[in-house]
């Protein structure tokens, strides 16, 4: 008992010392903060600070962004969103900041951090943040929020979703026409409505151009597990698939990794179809057949700009489809995809836009 008492006493003492220390440091820290705030463009972002001119345009708009567990370096979706904000920061001097969530318990406090910190717009990136964002939006009716990939029914929230099925249909067309083994694979992150749109669209695209091709569907159960992605890719490639379309965030990085090592080893040529961003820029043309681009960056930029311009309305849901260039293939596809196939893709694209073909979504 005595020991316990002593233990708690010492612990308390340490806490007090630490806290006292912080109390003293607060002033200096704050001034430090102020100092950094001016040059925030450099510190907040990992963008080259030197490119920011000293007389960068200033704006007192503050935009915050909460990622899911993937973080802003996931080479996909969260990164797209953050890069859009970084661009905005360079262009119009908007102050930007992100918080990465460690678990789904973090969503609410992280959103609140921005909302209560007086940010003019708070982004939630990802389907999983839907519930948390709704809770925060309803509790803070004066705050402005926006979300990607989920529809939140609140007057102060702008929701942006994408017609992933349409874009996926087009990469499905590429895959169906490129495959030599007539076997292609799909690796989803988690079985959610969003990923389902990728899966269904891709499958429909392959089947539309190559009825003999077999599409194997797998789910990794996670967006942040490149190791799982790598081992699933190995399974698929071993089974004779020569193209894999991962829609699984950072988990997909493992798929690229596996494909790269196979191609380097000089076996049968295998391909990966990138997702969300033009991933050939990240992983190179030798493995990236094409990418299903989802213009998260465009959406983030557009809605954030509305806040800057004072035209933010809220309560709306925007669906970005092929028609709006919200999804699609990048220019770099030319490197690996033949003219003929690209022509075919263009043909299907027009048919989808004109409504001649309706791509299933679930």
């Amino acid at each position: 008992m005595k020991k316990v008492y002593k233990l708690s006493l010492v612990m308390m003492l340490v806490f007090t010392v630490i806290l006292a220390g912080c109390g003293n440091n607060n002033n200096t820290a704050n001034s430090g903060n102020n100092a950094t705030e001016g040059s925030n463009a450099g510190t907040a972002t990992n963008a080259p600070a030197t490119e920011t001119p000293a007389e960068a345009p200033k704006s007192d708009v503050k935009v915050g962004l909460v990622t899911d567990v993937g973080g802003v370096n996931d080479k996909s979706f969260n990164q797209s969103a953050w890069e859009a904000l970084e661009a905005l920061n360079t262009e119009s001097g908007v102050e930007i900041k992100y918080l990465q969530s460690k678990s789904n318990a973090d969503y609410v406090p992280n959103l609140n951090q921005f909302v209560k910190g007086g940010y003019d717009l708070t982004w939630g990136i990802g389907f999983d943040l839907g519930d948390a964002l709704k809770e925060v939006a309803l509790a803070n009716p004066d705050a402005k929020l926006a979300i990607i990939d989920s529809v939140v029914d609140a007057p102060n929230v702008e929701s942006v979703t994408f017609a992933e099925n349409e874009g996926s249909f087009l990469v499905g067309v590429v895959a169906g026409l490129t495959t030599k083994t007539n076997k292609v694979g799909f690796i989803g992150g988690m079985d959610s409505p969003v990923i389902k749109r990728f899966e269904v669209g891709f499958k429909a695209g392959v089947e539309a151009v190559n009825p003999n091709a077999e599409v194997t569907i797998m789910y990794a159960g996670a967006y942040d597990k490149p190791d799982t992605g790598k081992s699933m890719a190995a399974t698929l490639y071993n089974a004779g698939n020569d193209i894999i379309f991962p829609a699984a965030g950072a988990t997909g990085n493992g798929v690229f990794n596996e494909a790269k090592s196979r191609n380097d080893a000089g076996g049968t040529k295998v391909w990966v179809i990138g997702v969300d961003k033009d991933q050939s820029l990240e992983f190179g043309d030798d493995v990236t057949l094409t990418s299903m681009i989802k213009r998260v960056d465009e959406a983030v930029k557009k809605v954030s700009q509305q806040v800057v311009d004072g035209t933010f309305e809220g309560g709306k849901t925007t669906v970005l489809s092929l028609k709006d260039n919200g999804v699609g293939l990048p220019e770099t596809s030319k490197a690996n995809v033949t003219e003929d196939i690209l022509a075919k893709v263009e043909e299907y694209k027009q048919k989808i836009i004109s409504g001649e073909i309706t791509v299933p979504s679930e």
Partner: protein
């Protein structure tokens, strides 16, 4: 394994405190190297925790499951076992609380909530007790079984949520009407998700202390934990104590699950991966020297660090990976007691040596 036991069973409290301080220092050095201001970072860390009543409440929310899982690991440890499976037990506890809360939603709240909490505790206890049973009857190492049971728990929970409790079109269960939230405190904490689980965790720590050191059964468990051979010679049923200890350990973990589902989220998500409460619990138990009150203090510290880490990236632009380095360093310094002792040698080691004889 034996080494680990020695680390856990140490009764010196100076080591963890110095380890914490050294962890902070290493974190500061890493920040300096990375070009960040450690003073600004640490002050934003504490500001995030103590800055507003909302954040303070949320920090308490963050600490609560750590208290439970820390107690769970510590309790098993005191009985000579290493419960790596607190994570799975949390999940099973969550699922039980969800099943009871959602499927029996017709019941009056004053019955439904206690029932859901009890179900969570029981389910976690049985889940861990099963590993204990395998150890007692078949001699299978509990480290292995509890790790395996973690995976089973993860996929079983996801299966149950997906097939029986799913909210259409979402990655989660329908809302759970059983609520452990302390709504009367909501305004005081600016709607932070404060819930009864915290009170329950403190009660669990008290129970832990009284049970292990004041009761006949606790005496048996400690004897089995220290020396199962002598316990057997003295006529104690070692196997039964193993199962019982794992059961109680699992109950603690299961209650953490109840707190999360009934107090924080009010629904259960489909988890992409283990939420990790159990593994943090090992760190907390280690930091708290497997003493129940030490565990509570350790959970408070660990929770503050975890919750405050967002403050570091918000206030000082320190990337979230860095706070992991700080936490990792603290754990490292506790595990590598030798280093801490070495630092302390001039003041401390001599005295420690003399205690032996």
């Amino acid at each position: 394994m034996h080494r680990l036991k020695k680390i856990f069973a140490t009764d010196s409290y100076i080591v963890p405190i110095v380890a914490v301080i050294m962890g902070f220092i290493v974190g500061a050095i890493v920040m300096l190297i990375g070009g960040y201001d450690p003073i600004a970072a640490y002050s934003s860390l504490f500001q995030r925790v103590f800055g507003s009543s909302y954040d303070f409440g949320e920090a308490i929310r963050e600490m609560t499951p750590l208290m439970f899982t820390g107690l769970a690991v510590a309790f098993a440890f005191r009985s000579g076992m290493f419960n790596i499976g607190a994570d799975g037990q949390v999940l099973i506890g969550m699922t039980a609380a969800s099943l009871v809360g959602i499927k029996l939603s017709g019941m009056p709240t004053y019955l439904l909530v206690p029932l859901a909490v009890i179900a969570a505790g029981l389910a976690g206890g049985l889940w861990a007790g099963f590993a204990g049973y395998l150890k007692a009857k078949r001699g299978i190492n509990e480290v292995i079984t509890t790790i395996m049971l973690n995976w089973i728990a993860l996929y079983l929970s996801n299966y149950i949520v997906k097939n029986f409790l799913l909210l259409e079109g979402q990655n989660r269960s329908v809302d759970n009407p059983a609520s452990m939230s302390m709504t009367f405190l909501a305004s005081a904490f600016d709607n932070a998700r404060i819930h009864w689980g915290t009170v329950l965790a403190l009660a669990a720590a008290t129970f832990f202390y009284l049970y292990l050191w004041k009761t006949k059964q606790g005496y048996e468990m400690r004897a089995v934990g220290f020396n199962p051979h002598a316990a057997e010679y003295a006529g104690m049923n070692v196997g039964r104590n193993v199962v019982k200890a794992m059961f109680i350990s699992g109950v603690f973990a299961g209650l953490a699950g109840a707190g999360e589902v009934l107090g924080v989220f009010h629904y259960q998500s489909i988890f992409a991966a283990s939420p990790g409460y159990g593994f943090d619990g090992i760190a907390v138990a280690l930091l708290g020297l497997t003493h129940p009150f030490g565990v509570i203090l350790a959970a408070i510290l660990y929770g503050m660090l975890t919750y405050g880490s967002a403050g570091m990236s918000f206030g000082a632009d320190v990337p979230p990976e860095l706070i992991r380095i700080v936490i990792g360093s603290i754990i490292f310094f506790i595990a590598a007691q030798g280093i801490v002792r070495w630092v302390l040698k001039p003041f401390y080691f001599k005295r420690k040596k003399e205690k032996v004889s």
